[in-house]
Subunit: 399 residues, 2 copies
Amino acid sequence: MTVSRTTILASVRPWGLDSADLVIEGEAIAAVLPAGSGRPEGAEVIDGRGLLALPGLVNAHAHADKSWWGAPWVSYGGEATTQGRIAHERAERGALGIPSTASTERVLREFLRHGTTAVRSHVDVDLGVGLDGIAVLREASAALGDAVEVEVVAFPQDGVIRREGVLDLLDRAAREGAESIGGLDPCLIDRDPVAQLDGLFDIAARHGCGIDIHLHAGGDLGAFEYDLIVDRTRRAGLIGKVNIAHGFALGQLPPGRQQALLEDFAELGISWSTVAPIRSAPLPWVAMREGGVGIGLGTDGVRDLWSPYGDGDLLRVALDFARLHGVRYDEDFAQVARLATSAAAPYVHREVHDLVPGARADVVLLEAENVPDAIVRAPRRELVLAGGRVVARAGDVLV
Amino acid sequence: MTVSRTTILASVRPWGLDSADLVIEGEAIAAVLPAGSGRPEGAEVIDGRGLLALPGLVNAHAHADKSWWGAPWVSYGGEATTQGRIAHERAERGALGIPSTASTERVLREFLRHGTTAVRSHVDVDLGVGLDGIAVLREASAALGDAVEVEVVAFPQDGVIRREGVLDLLDRAAREGAESIGGLDPCLIDRDPVAQLDGLFDIAARHGCGIDIHLHAGGDLGAFEYDLIVDRTRRAGLIGKVNIAHGFALGQLPPGRQQALLEDFAELGISWSTVAPIRSAPLPWVAMREGGVGIGLGTDGVRDLWSPYGDGDLLRVALDFARLHGVRYDEDFAQVARLATSAAAPYVHREVHDLVPGARADVVLLEAENVPDAIVRAPRRELVLAGGRVVARAGDVLV
């Protein structure tokens, strides 16, 4: 039997609204009361100082297993193509000790410092490292007491069909509990879209796991891949189980084609994740919202052999998303904040992720006037709670 | 006679190189010595703790006169067109007390907090506020003891030819010492490019001031305006006196057309400034560098009636510039850092702006391993010196 302790996170402004006390029992929020309206005896009280409160940030697309964050600077090398980067990474990662629990933990701590308390991480699965990266990610999360909850996408970064044995690795990953298997550019990398997609859908259907597939192709080629995925999702009945990551083509397609695809996505529960790249075509995000097509925000890789960029701050990804989509009105900023938090619950298999009773007590406090102010400034995270525990304060991780 | 005091900024890594002591006499750097190699008696020593040192950041394109930074949040309104925003701003600014010395000082302090010690600010000049904004900017700078040095572009935000009397205002601004006069979209706003440009060049030629003109037009229309400006710069002999701000068309033009323009720009000393907008076409920045065409980086407006974005951090603009141009190699990051600092000297009329003897002692210290690390993380500014004075520490302004 667990003894449930009571904590009051007092005088915070959930979503920038009226001051409230969050009553936390053990790991979960038990009640949200007007500030000062009665505090149970013996409860620990944390002074929220009138700060803005948001739910913990959700990183819907990370690569926590392959960063050199915290190691000495690694000057960039390799060819500037997807295949060039794949090859460069496979050649160099061993010398950098990738994957390792230590480097993965450093990335998770950086996420936590910035208020992220749940992550869906793609983890490289290939003939070189096998499933080692998955074990490493779970160990790193456990080392932090699951302050950052992780879920795994077993990700065939080096290709699926073109590498004999990778489908077996994905099958094993799914059998051993990976929440999703990934895929990568069925046309551009494997050059055999039917074989890759049939292989992935077969595994997902047998194990009941999700599919979360990287698609970099633009324009008509990207749309062709979406069609193949829609078709297989419907046939396999994998409703609400498929996510498309990046999907640069969607923003490039004519409105009529976009709309037809969005209807399919909505019907089949196919969701989207984006890292809001600075030069990408904006998503039809208003139509996606109205049509019920989910959008998750992610950091992508942080300081890895693909790119030296990234600091693990999902709130800055939300800012980039807002800028990329020309957001200027308060209500749209609020929508962006929800994409980074409560609306991302399905990406980490939570029923509810919000500042409401029943949710895990993941809370981020910021010195901000309101939600738009928090997005456009992305100020320091003053306090981060994960599962009711204080895990970061004034930008420093405490666990 | 001024008594010159000596300060040693000890144990810093200029540009991430070997540890050095900066010997500062009064406002200027007198010497850069290997760390610990002899410190004059009686000198004040500031411990630089091995931090990375850069020259003060230079903001080559600001609008410091019209921000509501520090005031309660102003929800966005107005139409999402250039003309819509101009009209919205003119209707609402008075109620927000814009322009005022207090609000302008708040913006300058925010610049300073982030390590910017010199600013070229466009200042709205129109039939409503006349030249009040210029006086306000100079007062705000003086209130900070010129820690942030400002120079003025008298900016006809509401148009030139379409508003009878604006040319006279610009003429008066130039006569009274504005370093440059501005212009705005001669085609799209004034709809009379020859009249606007002839008017501006006439004033600049008579007063010897610069021209720094906002051009938003894309593609062929933008290129047409560049041609008109090249032609007039050559005829008026205003070599090194003309800057084009935004100039979105340049990145959109075919390489041959770009190259021909860059040759003209180089010959005439026409420079460029950009705020690295998230969806703009990348500039041909390598060709510009090789051809000797200057590029300055700016924050644009910060939280004003045009847009709620911006936090005044020029290092983050440098980061956006790097991302927009796909920078990945260390030497390119170093070039970007120079754009934000030493290479921007001409934008604020400095002969030299660097960590070298003779330069004003404007120094920013950051906890970063090297220059690329400083750009991609844009960490807190640990110490900022302006004219030899410590003006900010740990992200807080001290003046």
